[in-house]
Amino acid sequence: MSTPHGGTLVDHTASERKSARLKEETREMKSIRLTSGLRKDVQNLANGVYSPLTGFLCGNDFDWVLEESRLSDDTPWTLPIILDVTEEQRKELSIGEEISLLTEEEEPFATLEVEELYGFDKKRMARKIYGTEDQDHPGVKRVMNMKDHLVGGDILQFKKNSTDFEKFHLTPKETRILFREKGWRTIVGFQTRNVPHMGHEYVQKTALSFVDGIFINPIIGKKKAGDYRDEVILAAYDTLMDKYYLKGRAVMSILEAEMRYAGPKEAVFHAIMRKNFGCTHFIVGRDHAGVGDYYGPYDAQDIFDEFPDLDITPVFFKSFTYCEKCGGAVDGHICPHDDKNRENFSGTKMRNMFKEGKTPPEHMMRPEVAKTVLRYEDKFVGDQK
């Protein structure tokens, strides 16, 4: 199993006794209300998903991440984990004070020790992280809409975020103990935002044949209209794993985080998070975490050459299709047939079929998985009446 990134698995969750005390003390503290995305960041900092980070980045680390894709101690780190505040909030805060962090519903759930207050250049951040200042890029748009100042410092979480998917929520500490109990020494991580089709299964099982276990880790969080709803993705995977995976070789748990659509830099970030869960390998496909045509199809694979010290092995897959002559999923390395024999695993096509209440063909999706998806009246974000 991989050692945690930076050497130590961070645990910044308060003990029961301290939690009880902090619940009282935070009533007297100044507070900042967080968005759901930032609340997830706090939980990921507290649980060690973002190890070795123990809080929101201070200015020096922020600059290092932007310029070098590393923390100031040379540890690889590609996306800044930052907390933005308004000018008014900045004026109210002082260095060294402990403040309360609130959920969107204004419930205190964590504290932050203010270590540094600093300004930042949004355009520079967009350029360095996303490679563009184009505000049509959802990540850039998000940066440009951020408040003007940043606050850095360690966090301590005393109230766990509530989730609709408690059954599927494991922390890095839990997955590490689970993998060890299962006797897995090598584990491949798979990141997903979709219901599984036959192409996904091909990729997962190809990788799984070389390691002890697979860790399927769907990202749960804010999605675009038209994306599958979280419960549909989880139910579809649950069905697939129940019918077509060896129970002792596959584990699924969710990752509550928001997509940044930073393409190559986010691919490395995704690998780092899975390393913290204990993975030794991580699957990186075509245009991983990309959006539109901002990144080349394999930029998210090439970037790994810059990190000889990442200590998680990326497993690269090029494009894969269904070949009717081979009778299964293939990629360019293994199939000698013409394009006319091949059919893309088109997510859009399958989504459209579901919208019409139709079942995708068996060579595209397992019938049991399709049946699970069809069971939901509201399959997609924005479907709810």
């Binding site: 310029e67 059954k167 494991l170």
Partner: protein, 74 residues
Amino acid sequence: MTEKNYTTVSIPKPLAKKIKKRMEGTGFNSMSSYVTYVLRQVISSMEEEEKAEEFSKEDEEKVKERLRALGYLD
């Protein structure tokens, strides 16, 4: 910013010569970036070997109990 993040290290000239030869065809355009790459690789593999993971007994039991309750462990 970038410049102040770097420092100079002296190495023997014959070693530098060897490194230059070794760099040929690797795609690296400077000896500094090649040496940085190699050193990061070496140091990270040394650190990887040195680390052992430990959780407290209490933590382990608590986690295993939850994993059993959720059906992840028998």
